[in-house]
Structure formats: structure tokens, C-alpha cells
């Protein structure tokens, strides 16, 4: 009998503890939640930086959920967060992979939490099917790949005539798919440039280093290396340095990591496009909060405002110094009053 009583104590305690925060949060402050891949990646870590600054400004608690590139962990963490806050939360989410967006949408719909999605969404999933899904926003990945490709082609001995190799990101990410499409678009417009081969380095510096080394052995006479992000560009630059080609064979990336600007200034890299994830987090959370507080009527938004694109900041050798002063040495004050002021096109 005594053992039974003790064995019931712990579950009872757990039940009480799990209900208490729910009651507290349901009546209390809205939690700002950002879902990111991990704090080890500067781009993703800055989502958290932006969210925390917003939380401080508004006096709201902030929770950061990291998937560690594991979709299942992402779902589990979200479930736990919903239980913890009782649904009294708004979410700015950058899903691990595009298909993850459907389970996330269903969970948040059931919890009654408004949210904004970044980057990854399958084209056939419609935001309008989920009333609590305020918007899906992405950068113009095709435009990014295209811009960086064009900048790279300009650096060849004979501009727009040459051979390149490409290092792609995680092949199931919209960013990777879009940027590669941008590269293809630039290649079609410039038939003098040939893409010899591509490999996927999954956004990782080490993998990009290994892949570039192998590709350089297979194709020793390339004129440029197109990389889908800055992390991989760093790995590619190192491989080029070992082959004695750094500075002669240039590299492009995207994201706008601080070391990328150093590489542009040093002459190893041509261009990148800066995506301010601090802004993304603040924007997403503010928009979801507006929906929650009734200031933004989600149902009445046209489809072009439910799934859309914003521009990044294009950085190359011409504007890198000015850019670093404005954006990197400090966090700019963001104007979040008109959500659609930077609308740059509808996304699928």
C-alpha cells in the first residue's frame, strides 16, 4: 500500500506541475517563439538575437527552439512548447525542411497560435488553408543565385566566358533549390559559361572543402566556384588556397556572414547577399502578434500577402565597406509598421 502511494506521488506531482504553467501562461504574457536549425550557424543564431531584442523591448518572454537539423526534434520541441504555454504564443519559424511545414501548421492550428513561416514550404501547400498561418515569407532565392552567378561570371578572364563548378546546399531546402535555379537562369543567359559539375555540401564548411578539393582534381581548369551559402564558400576558399588558386578563381555565397565580407575585401570572394535574420525574427513575431491582437485580419489578406518574398541586401566588392558599417557593426532599427512595405513578389 505504501509503495503504491509513493509510486503515485511522482506522476501526481508531474501532473500538478504540468498544469500550473498552463494556467499561469494562459492568463499571462504571450511567449515569443523562434524555431531555428541551431545556434551554431550564424544566420540562424541571429534569429534568436533579433527575437530576444524584441522580447526585451515588448517585455515578453522569448523561447528559442533548435531542431539541430532534425525534423523530429523540431516537432517534439514544438509540442512541448505548446503544452508549456497553453497555446499563448506566437511563432516565427524557419523549418528544417520544406515538408515539415504541414505538421507544424496542423499543430499550431490546433493550438490556436498565430505564426509566420520563413523559407521552406512545398509549393503545393497553400497558406490560406490554415487560418492561423499568417504568412510564408522567403527571400528571392532564385534572385540570389542569379545575382551571385552574374557577379561571378564578370570576374572571368573573358567576362561571361568560362567554366564553373557549383556547391549546393541541402537539396530539400527551398533556398538551395531556388538559388540553383537562379544559377541555371544565369547560365542560360550566358551560353559561354559552362557548369562542369555540382556536388551537395549540405550547407557545411567541411563538406564543401572536401567536395571542392575533389572537384578541383576532376576539373583543374575552372574559372569560378558558385556556392549556395557563405559557410560552404569558406570551405571552397580553403580548398582553392591549397590548390594555389585562391584570388584567381573566385567564389560566391549567400547569407552575409561576417567572414564573407572579410573574404570579399581580401579578394577571395566576389559577392554575397545579406539576409538579416534578426529582422526576419522581429518581423515574423511582430506580424503574428498583430494577428493575435486583432490588429491584422489574416482572413482578409489576399494570397499575394500570404506567401511572398522580400529582398536581401546585395553585397559585392563595391559596397562591402559601407555595408559592414551600416549593418554589421550595429543592429539597425527596424521599421516594422507596414508589414508589406518590402513586398517584392508573390511566392508559390
Amino acid at each position: 500500500m505504501r509503495r503504491f502511494a509513493w509510486s503515485m506521488l511522482l506522476p501526481a506531482l508531474g501532473l500538478i506541475l504540468s498544469v500550473t504553467p498552463r494556467l499561469a501562461d494562459a492568463a499571462g504574457k504571450t511567449t515569443l517563439v523562434v524555431m531555428i536549425r541551431g545556434l551554431d550557424n550564424p544566420y540562424h543564431a541571429n534569429y534568436a538575437v533579433g527575437a530576444k531584442e524584441l522580447g526585451k523591448k515588448l517585455g515578453l518572454p522569448v523561447d528559442v527552439l533548435t531542431s539541430e537539423a532534425n525534423s523530429q526534434k523540431q516537432f517534439a520541441d514544438l509540442k512541448a512548447e505548446i503544452a508549456k504555454t497553453g497555446g499563448n504564443m506566437v511563432v516565427s519559424c524557419d523549418p528544417n525542411e520544406a515538408p515539415d511545414v504541414v505538421p507544424i501548421a496542423k499543430m499550431l492550428e490546433a493550438a490556436g497560435a498565430y505564426w509566420v513561416n520563413w523559407w521552406n514550404k512545398p509549393p503545393d501547400v497553400k497558406v490560406a488553408s490554415y487560418p492561423h498561418w499568417v504568412s510564408h515569407v522567403q527571400f528571392d532565392a532564385v534572385g540570389q543565385g542569379y545575382y551571385n552567378a552574374k557577379e561571378l561570371f564578370k570576374t572571368f578572364k573573358t567576362p561571361n566566358q568560362g567554366k564553373i563548378i557549383a556547391i549546393q546546399g541541402m537539396l530539400a531546402n527551398n533556398a538551395a533549390i531556388g538559388r540553383f535555379q537562379g544559377l541555371q537562369k544565369a547560365l542560360k543567359e550566358n551560353p559561354g559559361v559552362q557548369l562542369l559539375q555540382w556536388e551537395s555540401a549540405e550547407w557545411d564548411t567541411t563538406k564543401a572543402y572536401n567536395a571542392t578539393k575533389a572537384l578541383l582534381a576532376a576539373h583543374p581548369d575552372v574559372d569560378g566556384v558558385w556556392c549556395a551559402n557563405d559557410n560552404m564558400a569558406m570551405g571552397a576558399i580553403q580548398a582553392l588556397k591549397e590548390a594555389g588558386l585562391a584570388g584567381k578563381v573566385l567564389v560566391t555565397g549567400t547569407d552575409g556572414n561576417p567572414e564573407a565580407f572579410d573574404a570579399i575585401k581580401a579578394g577571395y570572394m566576389v559577392s554575397t547577399e545579406f539576409q538579416d535574420s534578426r529582422y526576419q525574427a522581429q518581423f515574423g513575431l511582430t506580424m503574428a502578434l498583430a494577428a493575435k491582437e486583432g490588429k491584422l485580419d489574416v482572413k482578409s489578406l489576399p494570397s499575394k500577402y500570404r506567401s511572398w518574398m522580400i529582398p536581401g541586401v546585395k553585397v559585392n566588392r563595391d559596397n562591402v565597406d559601407k555595408f559592414v558599417d551600416e549593418y554589421i557593426k550595429s543592429m539597425p532599427k527596424y521599421d516594422l509598421s507596414n508589414f508589406f512595405a518590402n513586398w517584392a513578389g508573390e511566392a508559390p
Binding site: G38, L39, D40, N41, P42, H44, A45, N46, A69, Q168, L171, Q197, W198, E199, S200, E202, D204, T205, T206, K207, Y209, N210, A211, K213, A214, L215, L216, A217, A218, P220, N231, M234, G235, I237, Q238, K241, E242, N257, P258, E259, D262
Partner: protein
């Protein structure tokens, strides 16, 4: 030259009718324990040499293969002692990431005034040793299965690395070790020479010292090893510590070679290292295989992946190929008698 030992009327076995030198070479080959691996390497090289019209055998490509296989080989040599002793050390992701972050913090960089220079080598070995010792203690003293203990430690260390790294990728301004890692000596990548020498040294320790013999004894049968008087606890901690030190050195080399410290560095290392060890002929059930097996396995895996790139094999299936190779390697090397039930 032998004669048949059977009675009158039996024919001499074919094997024993071969000339002396051939028999002796064959026996040596079998004794080294890497016969199958060398054959595999020859087959892999042959297939890709034919498939790429000889481009695979170009000296520049061979240099790339040697250069890219060196650091995975050192990681594999670090992993294999714990496997031979019947356990496994999966903490390599965490150790590598943590050391990468420390290297970025302590070597000359643009964010702080530290400039440890070559002392970083000792720091890397020390961090690796501490991590390894904790793994060993968790396994030996707390009796937690090494698979779980080391995996958990790996994640703890990775989390620590991310926390300390604060998502800043630190370019390394002190490039001495990086230059060492990418230099060539008479056309051969220096790092491959270092890896080969290191492998030979570890193999020597395994063949000629008590430490090595005890390792095989524990891997062969723990109960008998204990009854023979081997202190299992001390040995296990020693092996995990050794693994940690080796991971430390390999991680330092890799970070310096990349020229940039990123806290994610360790994440892509575990699968290739385990594959390398298995392909090299180190049985996951323990007791079989040495440093040369591990290093050779790394070479085979690198040669395979390089060949896949050279032959324009779709990146979508390259990962699958590695998976198949791992399964086949383990299937051929494990001792099923040791596993009561295949879980």
C-alpha cells in the same frame, strides 16, 4: 616445401604444391590481416580507373585522395581501440566541435588577444584526454554501456561547443598548423605521411606492448580477461582517454586546415569514421583489427567517394552508396557467434 601429411593414396593439396615464395607471400599477406582490404582497395581503384578512362589515376587525383584521407584516418585510428575492446566511442562529434571552438578562441584571431601558438597542440590533447577519461569512467565505473555514454557525452560536448562558440565562425590568423596540414613533401601530401607514421606507431603499440595485448584480450572475451588479472576498469579508461587524445589531435589538424573555427565542425565526422573503421576490417563485436585496418578503411572510403565524384555519380545516391558499403562491411566482419541475438 611441405609434403602431404595424410596417409598413402591421398593427393597433395593444391595449396601445398605452390612454389615456396608464393606460399610465403600468401602466408604473410594473411598474417597482416589486411589482405581483404588491400584487395578491396585494388578493386575500387580498378573500377574507377576504368570508369574515368584513367583520370582517376592521375597524380593530382591520387594526391587529393591521400590528402583527404589523412585526417579521417587519424580519426578512425582514434575510434578503433574502443571498438576492438568491445565497446564504441561515439563522442567524436562533440570532441571535434569543442576543440574547433577552443582553437578559434585561443589561436591568434580578430576577436580577442589570445595567441597560444603551438601550445594549442597540448590544449587539444588535454581537452580530448579529459573528454575521453569521462567517457571511460562513465563506462567502467558507472557501468553505462559505452554506446550510450559516449553518444551522450558527444552531445554534451557539442552543446558546450555551440554555447561557447556563440555562432561566430572565427577565421584563424595563425596559419602555421594549417600550412603544415596542407603542405606537400616530394609531391606527397605531408599530412598523409604523418597519418601513415602515426598509424604505424599505434600499430606498434598494439602489437608489441602489454597495452595492446590487453586490449585484444578484453575484446576477445571480457570474462576471461578479468580472470587473467587484467584490470578492466583502468584499461577501459585508458583506451577511451587515448581515443580522446587522438580525436583532439585530428580535430586540431582539421580546424587549422579549414582555416576557420566553426562549432558545427564535428557534425559530419561520425558516419564516415565509423564506416572507415568497419570497412577496414575492425569487427564491431571486438577483438579483431588494428590501427592499420582503421587507416586503410579510411583510405578505401575516401577513394570510393572521390571516385564517385570523378564519375559524376549523382550526389543524390552518393550517400546511399556509403550506407550500402557500411552495411556490407559490418556484415562481413562481425562475429555472429558473439551476438546471442541480432538486435
Amino acid at each position: 616445401m611441405t609434403t602431404a601429411t595424410a596417409g598413402p593414396g591421398r593427393l597433395t593439396p593444391f595449396r601445398e604444391r605452390l612454389p615456396g615464395p608464393v606460399l610465403a607471400t600468401g602466408a604473410w599477406f594473411q598474417r597482416t590481416g589486411i589482405a581483404a582490404q588491400l584487395l578491396t582497395l585494388a578493386i575500387v581503384v580498378g573500377i574507377f580507373a576504368m570508369g574515368t578512362g584513367g583520370k582517376y589515376l592521375a597524380w593530382s587525383n591520387v594526391q587529393v585522395i591521400l590528402s583527404l584521407s589523412a585526417i579521417p584516418a587519424i580519426f578512425a585510428v582514434g575510434l578503433h581501440p574502443t571498438i576492438v575492446a568491445g565497446g564504441i566511442d561515439l563522442s567524436l562529434q562533440g570532441v571535434a566541435s569543442l576543440i574547433a571552438v577552443f582553437v578559434g578562441f585561443l589561436l591568434r584571431n580578430q576577436f580577442n588577444s589570445h595567441d597560444l601558438g603551438l601550445w594549442i597542440i597540448l590544449v587539444a590533447m588535454l581537452i580530448g584526454a579529459i573528454a575521453g577519461a569521462v567517457n571511460g569512467l562513465l563506462n567502467a565505473a558507472l557501468r553505462i554501456p559505452s554506446f550510450i555514454a559516449s553518444l551522450g557525452m558527444g552531445w554534451i560536448l557539442y552543446g558546450l561547443a555551440v554555447f561557447m562558440g556563440k555562432a561566430v565562425n572565427v577565421p584563424l590568423l595563425d596559419t602555421r598548423i594549417g600550412n603544415f596540414a596542407s603542405a606537400n613533401v616530394v609531391g606527397i601530401p605531408l599530412i598523409a605521411v604523418v597519418a601513415a607514421g602515426f598509424t604505424a606507431a599505434v600499430q606498434l603499440v598494439e602489437d608489441r606492448t602489454r597495452l595492446g595485448r590487453y586490449m585484444y584480450a578484453i575484446g576477445g572475451d571480457e570474462v576471461i580477461a578479468r580472470q587473467a588479472g587484467i584490470n578492466l576498469g583502468v584499461m577501459k579508461v585508458a583506451l577511451f582517454t587515448a581515443a580522446g587524445i587522438i580525436y583532439g589531435l585530428a580535430s586540431l589538424l582539421l580546424t587549422c586546415r579549414l582555416g576557420i573555427s566553426t562549432s558545427r565542425m564535428g557534425l559530419t565526422l561520425l558516419f564516415p569514421t565509423v564506416t572507415a573503421v568497419a570497412v577496414g576490417g575492425v569487427a564491431l563485436t571486438g577483438g579483431i583489427g588494428g590501427a592499420k585496418n582503421a587507416a586503410l578503411g579510411a583510405l578505401i572510403v575516401t577513394a570510393l567517394n572521390d571516385g564517385l565524384v570523378l564519375m559524376h555519380v549523382s550526389p543524390y545516391i552518393q550517400q546511399a552508396v556509403n550506407g550500402v558499403v557500411l552495411i556490407v562491411a559490418v556484415a562481413l566482419t562481425i562475429d555472429r557467434r558473439k551476438l546471442g541475438f541480432i538486435k
